[in-house]
């Protein structure tokens, strides 16, 4: 498989994955949130705020009722891309959402690592990774917005 994600850190407020592009054909990877085999946001999170976000489909989160979500809602939850959503996820000051950061570690070409959020056919959020075109590694941090207390 060209692109893989290995969980290297799981804390209540963050996950860190080591992304690896082994140079084979293919530049995309989907991280699910269904409780599937890792990498999966539900499987990999430990009790805490990030897990609560991962359970948005089953339990709801803030103003989002349980059930199928849209891409815009997934982006609000996992990229803090709240925008002008209807319904709003909730007051910016009271509702914490997550964000994703990529830090390249090894590579030989200009950057190609991208991360976006979407939903699968059932409305469950996914994180979609696009890797650079040749072999390399990077870290993906899935973390709460800055300011959350606790490790």
């Amino acid at each position: 498989m060209a692109v893989t994600a290995a969980l290297v850190l799981a804390r209540p407020n963050r996950l860190r994955y080591l992304l690896t592009q082994d140079g084979a054909a293919g530049t995309t990877l989907t991280i699910t949130s269904t409780g599937a085999v890792t990498p999966d946001l539900l499987t990999d999170t430990v009790p805490g705020q990030v897990r609560a976000i991962a359970k948005a489909f089953t339990d709801g989160y803030a103003a989002y009722a349980a059930g199928a979500l849209t891409q815009a809602q997934a982006r609000a939850l996992w990229l803090s891309n709240r925008g002008a959503l209807a319904p709003s996820i909730g007051s910016v000051r009271r509702v914490t959402t997550a964000r994703c950061e990529i830090t390249p570690r090894v590579g030989t070409v200009t950057p190609g690592w991208l991360v976006d959020a979407n939903v699968d056919g059932g409305g469950r959020p996914t994180l979609n990774i696009t890797a650079q075109a040749t072999a390399g590694t990077a870290y993906l941090d899935v973390e709460l917005e800055t300011g959350a207390i606790g490790a």
Partner: protein, 161 residues
């Protein structure tokens, strides 16, 4: 020519370096952690601001004082990655669940024509058993115009700056 590395801001839980390069191809630079001449994590933490009062310095002293379940002594690359990249799954790389480990994060600042061209990378290794933070730039300055990037070495989710 090596990447120029300068500490620009220091706190108890974080330090920010500014990296600059004028190399069209691949350029490299290293930050030691032994108390050597700058750029050195211990030296920069001890001489700028309040860095001498925080847990980041404790991580920098791991080879001499140990850090949790990582015993004092020569460290391996896996242990160095556990301490500075929070890649705790390596062999003997987890200091213990209760202890924080650092992250390194890159934020490109200046590039050709105002855009971000090329690639900045960060990894960690050891030299004589002492961790080094190694930065690489690839193609960030194709015309020789200086490109810049910030490197943050920080402990996430900690109270206090």
């Amino acid at each position: 020519m090596a990447i120029t590395i300068t500490a620009t801001a220091v706190g108890r839980n974080r330090i920010r370096y500014r990296l600059t390069s004028t190399t069209a191809g691949t350029d490299t630079g290293s930050i030691t952690t032994t108390g050597a001449a700058k750029p050195d994590l211990q030296t920069d933490l001890l001489t700028i601001g309040v860095g001498n009062q925080g847990p980041l310095l404790a991580i920098a002293k791991a080879p001499t004082a140990g850090y949790g379940q990582i015993a004092a002594g020569a460290l391996t690359q896996a242990q160095a990655r556990g301490l500075y990249l929070s890649e705790r799954t390596g062999t003997n790389a987890n200091p213990g669940t209760a202890l924080a480990t650092a992250l390194c994060r890159l934020t490109p600042q200046v590039g050709l024509g105002g855009s971000n061209v090329g690639s900045w990378l960060v990894d960690v290794n050891v030299s004589g058993g002492n961790p080094t933070i190694n930065v690489t730039s690839i193609g960030v300055s194709p015309t020789g115009v200086e490109a810049a990037c910030f490197l943050d070495v920080f402990l996430p989710d900690q109270i206090g700056a």
